[in-house]
Amino acid sequence: MRVGMIAEGSYPYVSGGVSSWIHTLITGMEDIEFSLFTITPEKKKNSELKYSLTKNTVHHQNVELITDFPDKKVKSNLTEAELSLLFKWFTFQTLDPKALLILGNQEKMGSVEEFFESESFYTLVQECYEYEELYGSFLDYMWMWKSMYTPVMHLLQQDYSKVDVIHSASTGYGGLIGSYISIVQNIPFIITEHGIYSREREEEILQSSWIPVIYKKRWIRFFHHLSRIAYEQAEDVITLFEKNRGYQLELGAPAEKTAIVPNGIDINTSLTLQGKKPVFHIGAIVRIVPIKDIKTMIYAANTLRRWGYSFHWSILGSDEELPEYAQECKDLVVSLELEQWVTFTGKVNVQDYLLSFDVCVLTSLSEGQPLAILEGMAASRPWVATDVGSCRELIEGREEDPYGACGFVIPPIQPEELADRLRWFMNHPELLERMGKNGLNRVKNDYLLSDVITFYRNLYVKRGENVGRHRIPAAKII
């Protein structure tokens, strides 16, 4: 059995998050072959690999969103009916899978460049402009069109190797080619969404300066449209936690397809206590990047010191991703004269440190379901984390959770609040162990990696079995 795994902008070129999830999943299923499709913004070199591919990854295909190389010349050749279907698809009026088949068919569409040079395209874009009644600069509208649909056409016009089940780790472009592969190869499609793609794009678009204000809404609708196509085509729409499932339903995912499969972690029984500090030891397992809001930790440390507590704060994690930001944080530590209280360890083996922590901290501005928290919980450490993503669910437990909280959630960017919670832990050392236990119990029951892997293996097998039996091939309807 071969599963196609689609990673948009992540595995194997980025570490952490979705990448490590995919890597763990593939590593955990030695009996299943994987075809890996990675969507990258531009060409990638092998030297940029952050993970070496596993033995059961039998095929790895990189697809760039756009290429610099002009593609071969194929004239656009569309019938009236096809054009009117495209009109509806481009204006988000239909999710008809036939539209994807046309977009991916170079004989009909023409190559990307040729299509954008064709008169049918010009007619189409004028009709859409009038239909949408936006009345901004037509040149900007045109640019928007080209930048929206160039990647779409380019991605759909690739050849994708044959697989039995296709699994995408996001909607967006990943979801788009997942849907397409599913339609063309007539195989089931599974989505696991970690963050909610269209919401993330929405934030980016609203903050962007290169999109004219009048066209921002259309960009947002475009990404919603892509998500909706994927939700429509998929058999399973999986996410990590309840809040995200709510968003998916809101964005049009059919409820009966949705499921929650949280992240999982191995319970490491061989943890040893190393580097125990003589004082209260606070640990943070984070990459040094702005979205983790390292500065809030530093300010909180400053407050604690002002209050007269003795403690040590270790920040574990790579500082190579954004060296300027890392430098800013280090400078801040120096200027607050906190060098004795706060240390940056750089990238280290987290397992060596976990048991030495009295409490763990996460100050992210945005999260999905952070593995860091699960790791800490598996090592029975209590937590203070910001209320983003599924942090609250992890720390306080879902509804009807029998185990009890393993720490506190606080609003993001609140150094005083963070300091206050840490002070509470320092004042109640007797409760540290009990809270840590709560977390460990929850992990054991709800967040075991073996459960996650078993779930996906079963799902692949179940969906894969159905190929060619109950399904009507969409490609044959046309």
């Binding site: 002009p70 010009y122 402009y129 037509f138 040149l139």
Partner: protein, 487 residues
Amino acid sequence: MLAGIGFQLQKLFKEDYYSSRLKAYLYSLFVTAGPWLIVIFTILMLQVLLKTVPGVNALNKQLFMISVSYCFMFSQVLFGFQQLVVTRYTADCLYEKNEEKVFSSYLGFSAVTAAAAILLWLIFALLSPLQWEYKFMMLGLFLLLNLIWIMLLYLSGAKNYQSIALAFLAGGVLSVSCMFILLKWNPFPQGEWTPAWIMMGSFTGGIAVTFLWLVNAMLKTFPNRAASMPFEYLTYFDKYPQLAFTGIFYNAGLWVSNWIIWVSGGQWLLDTFRYHPGYDTAVFYAYLTILPSYVIFVVSIETRFYERYRDFFSFINDGGTLTQIRKSKAKMLLVLKQEIERLVRNQGFISLAVLFLALFIFPLFFNADLILGIFRITLIGAFCNGMTMIMMLLLLYFDDRKGALFTSAAFFGGIALFTLLMLPAGEAAYGVGFTVGSLLSFVYSSFRLFQYVSKADYYAFCKSRHTPIEGPFHNLSRRLNRLAGAE
């Protein structure tokens, strides 16, 4: 190409009373056809003068007139080969705010042209039995003319019309007076070809004055003269080969009927030049009749039409809505149609008038029915010829390089083909090929123009802008730049 003087003219036209209107037309005539008129006038003056100077035999006169014509003709063809490409290059430099590259390209353009001119002359000189002194004199004239056309391109681009016209005026006056004085007093010992030599010398001297005057104007126009990468412009032959071919075809098309007729029905002069006295004269006068077209073109198209053209493109490039783009396109099309109609009507009227007048006036000057016959037919051809050129310029306004290429190819091919086809019909049918070919290219280019302009927005938005970034001319350009030590 001429865009730019329109703005000055608009001012003159807005005060709508006769004196200023007249001023505007005269000004247009001056700036567009000025140099050409002065050169023609000079030659006509010389012809008249020669009649009054005794002692110069017909062969001497012919040799002089034909050498000058050949220098003009071939320098135009040589220049035409690069003209459109260089124009495009300098326009791009200015658009990209690389003004300093413009003067460098002038140097490169001149060097390449001079080299080509010398090569061409060498072939001529080795084949011709003329005296070497005379041949060297011809080389001088040929080189000067080539370099002058180049400066004209740059100076008219910089809208330095006044100095252009003055330069030609000065050169013309000097040629005529010098020649008159030298022939009248004849201080040189008599020799077989002395008069031709003197005439050629005087004329070349005058042209040299024009040349120096223009050089002076060039130096004033480009105060910051850099000479880095003078041959970079050659890369545009890879990028826009159509422009080079358009230039070649158009300029060759102007002469191809003469060439064919010289070969089949012409005669030799001194085993060097082919010519056909009747046909050449008739065509020369026919071309004179379309001079007004230049003026009308500048006045009507470059003012009224150009305004609409600018509006249309500013709506496209600066963020107009679709409705604004469509409306401005409709307006532009309407004005284009009106102005072309007016151009055809006015020039048509003038040509017709000349046609009738010629019936009465021609016999007074020439006692050959043949010339009148050819003149009458080529006059219509010249009309179509002028229109073709204007359509071609308009196509290039819209960057329809393919259309311009097809037009010029049809122009050259049509004239060549029909001239050849009509050869069996003998002298009576001379000029028919020229006219039919010109008519065809005129008809084709008008269709092409309106078809293209009615989709101008589509082309503006959707046409591919990819140009090759490598090619044989890129290599050549690099090599020459290195040779010139400017890389």
